[in-house]
């Protein structure tokens, strides 16, 4: 896994199988949707809703993997599998790290979405 927020080969594969234009639109949909997911994740964390927390992390992981955002996917997967308590034990730091990684992904993806 390289340092790049988006694995270009994965994104190109997506563009090839689903169509370049569709892949760009899909990236746009994700960019529009992801902030809501991050907010939902934080709300679940603060509200102690373990099910919603796991489910949202799962969803984010799945989308990240689709676009080749593997670092983001790995962080989301860690949240999904270790759960809310682990994040609380770490003082919420993993959520901040997730936000930062998403910012990198969003910038890279926005670029790709412009074509």
């Amino acid at each position: 896994m390289s340092d790049a927020p988006i694995d270009r080969a994965t994104f190109d594969e997506l563009a090839e199988s689903a169509g370049a234009e569709f892949a760009r639109e899909l990236a746009g949909t994700f960019l529009a949707d992801a902030p809501r997911m991050l907010a939902a994740l934080r709300a679940a964390f603060e509200g102690g809703d373990t099910v919603a927390f796991r489910r949202t992390a799962h969803s984010l992981k799945s989308n990240a993997q689709t676009f080749g955002a593997f670092a983001l996917g790995a962080r989301a997967k860690a949240l999904e599998t270790t759960g809310l308590d682990a994040v609380r034990a770490a003082g919420g730091a993993p959520l901040d790290e997730l936000d930062r990684e998403y910012a990198r992904v969003a910038a890279a993806l926005a670029e790709l979405a412009r074509g």
């Binding site: 689903a18 899909l26 989308n63 689709t66």
Partner: protein, 353 residues
């Protein structure tokens, strides 16, 4: 981009995540499928019940009703339990995948879904469904394996052919008063036991059960597969039926339940045999005067207090070794002229009290 085989099949994509729904729909549409979507299990269940698709692609992690919950509901629903389901998810851990399969999912595809794998799995699942549907349609309209065999070569067509065969009718004597002395559950159980014995007797002599109704059944010998000894096969079946019921009754009497008695009528002659009904649902049966006569003879057993009655044509074709007693000409309902009636002694003591 539509491909052969895929065109026209309707798929339901169930996923709470918009990106996943859009991407999966896109890949499927590229492969020629018609796609509908639902954003959770509850919405999906409504869709399934309103208008079931050919196949469902199901995510697991969803709000309201998740994939496991939906799989459970489908399994408990007779109308939906055969719906093929492919789970598409990025589940962590093998246990959840195993759980999907155990709940009836046909296959599991990890996300992100590989389009080539998706295509192959879908084709395989839909092909299996097509074969299942075909088989179900076949079973619905074919009454017995023998009939299925007979039509396998020539195919299924409505309409009849003229055959010479023997028809047997039997029913349980005094069934209505009997059923009034027991619970409906006991009656069903009794009927099922009785039908099991009767089917066994018919099948054992190469006949087919054409119809069952209430406490009676109709069997055919000599159609669809012609055979020269259909009259003898029918009468031997009748005798075995009586014997089986006598044994069954002995058990009932020992348990303090009333005995069971039956009447059997057999007639032989020309009739029209074939499928009656619609292309979707049909039964193999025979119609004609001979069939009516067999039914009347079965009813006539009550009037004369005998167990097995046959007509002259059956007696003539019977062959040696079976004792027949002439009861003379009797006027039978539905027959203008009196009909020669013969009784066959079952050799076991079953007499009306």
């Amino acid at each position: 981009m539509a491909e052969n085989g895929a065109t026209g099949a309707r798929l339901l994509v169930v996923d709470d995540n918009k990106v996943n729904r859009l991407l999966l729909s896109r890949l499927l549409e590229q492969q020629g499928y018609r796609v509908e979507t639902a954003e959770n299990g509850r919405v999906a269940l409504e869709r399934l019940r309103a208008d079931p698709p050919d196949l469902m692609l199901l995510d697991i992690e969803m709000p309201e009703l998740d994939g496991f919950g939906l799989l459970e509901r489908i399994r408990g629903d007779l109308a939906l339990r055969d719906l093929p389901v492919i789970v598409t998810s990025s589940l962590e851990g093998l246990d959840d995948v195993v759980r999907c399969i155990e709940l009836g999912a046909e296959d599991y595809l990890p996300k992100p879904v590989n389009p080539t794998l998706l295509r192959a799995r879908l084709r395989a699942s839909l092909e299996k469904k097509r074969l299942r549907d075909q088989q179900k349609a076949l079973v619905r309209r074919l009454a017995t394996p023998e009939v299925a065999q007979a039509t396998a070569a020539s195919g299924f067509t409505l309409g009849g052919t003229r055959v010479r065969a023997s028809v047997l009718f039997t029913d349980i004597r005094g069934f209505t008063p009997l059923s009034e002395t027991q619970t409906p559950e006991e009656t069903i159980e009794l009927l099922n036991d009785w039908y099991a014995l009767m089917f066994d007797a018919v099948g054992g002599h190469g006949g087919i059960v054409s119809q069952i109704q209430g406490d009676g059944l109709m069997a055919i010998f000599g159609a669809p597969q012609p055979r020269p000894d259909h009259a003898r096969a029918a009468v031997e079946t009748a005798l075995e039926m009586v014997e089986l019921v006598a044994m069954f009754s002995a058990g009932r009497i020992a348990a303090g339940d009333p005995a069971l008695r039956i009447g059997v009528g057999v007639a032989t002659g020309e009739m029209i045999a074939g499928f009656i009904g619609t292309m979707e649902r049909a039964i193999y049966t025979c119609i004609g005067d001979t069939v009516n006569l067999a039914s009347r003879l079965e009813q006539h057993t009550k009037d004369v207090g005998r167990t097995v009655l046959i007509d002259a044509a059956t007696r003539d074709a019977l062959g040696p070794g079976i004792e027949v007693e002439s009861l003379g000409a009797a006027s039978i309902r539905g027959k203008a002229k009196p009909v020669d009636v013969y009784a066959v002694d079952p050799g076991v003591a079953i007499r009306d009290p």
